[in-house]
Symmetry: C2
Subunit: 122 residues, 2 copies
DNA sequence: ATTTGTGGTATATTTTAGTTACCATTTAAC
DNA sequence: GTTAAATGGTAACTAAAATATACCACAAAT
């Protein structure tokens, strides 16, 4: 459905099919678009990765950020947390099928981003 | 380049090719992924749209948000602002070629988001 | 004179991101 | 045997966004 604005005979405007809260794109962005979220998913694409390794790979993101995003991704069913050993505690994170289904978009984004070599201010 | 973590003979870890600040995916997300940004671009896909019409279409986003995002998008070269008349002031926003180049990704995201019918908490 | 339209801005509040330091535990080097 | 680095996090705090609510000057129609 397309949202559109119609003007009636008296010049008054009404919106049809407005995105009432988040429309499909907004929803998708909330899953994939949060800060560091795309990167996290992308770094898990090949194999399960450990928490600290993941934090190290994402230079610029703090452990708290990584932790927070991973929890969100887990809730959203895109990532699974697995405790692979007690005592020397070890945890890995890996993608679910759903998580994996987002990889194509992220890959396209990566290519797009690279071909337009983007400058970022902050 | 793939980022990876290597363990040396003494068990010490080092990261190679870490995403030092924002890697390609992060960069792309900064352009497209900000709150409401994707939606704005998508609503401009067919034709130039006026400021207030755009605000109306994006239920949930305040005018301030729309204004702020449009300015960012303008700076980033994805959108052009055109004053189409003074006195009764009228302004339209339309996509540049660069802005248009992002539509495919947004469209894929939309389809992905729709096929996985996502629930959003907040 | 009131309402509706135009394209915004100012102010304040709430939410999120990011920084820094710290926990308990284990293994290995000096 | 003590220091150093690893493990996976958490607590407390500050800085930066997002959001809400009003409001501007101006124009045209009711």
């Amino acid at each position: 459905m397309e949202s559109s604005v119609k003007t009636d005979s008296k010049g008054r405007k009404k919106v049809y099919n407005a995105c009432m809260e988040p429309c499909a794109i907004e929803k998708g962005m909330r899953l994939i678009g949060g800060k560091w979220k795309g990167s996290i998913i992308y770094h898990l694409k090949d194999e399960p990765v450990r928490f600290n390794d993941l934090s190290r790979m994402l230079g610029g993101a703090t452990k708290k950020m990584v932790d927070q995003r991973l929890k969100e991704l887990e809730e959203e069913g895109m990532v699974i947390r697995k405790v692979i050993s007690d005592r020397p505690i070890a945890v890995t994170y890996e993608l679910t099928e759903f998580g994996r289904s987002a990889l194509k978009i992220l890959d396209d984004l990566k290519v797009w981003s690279e071909t337009h070599n983007i400058e970022i201010s902050k």
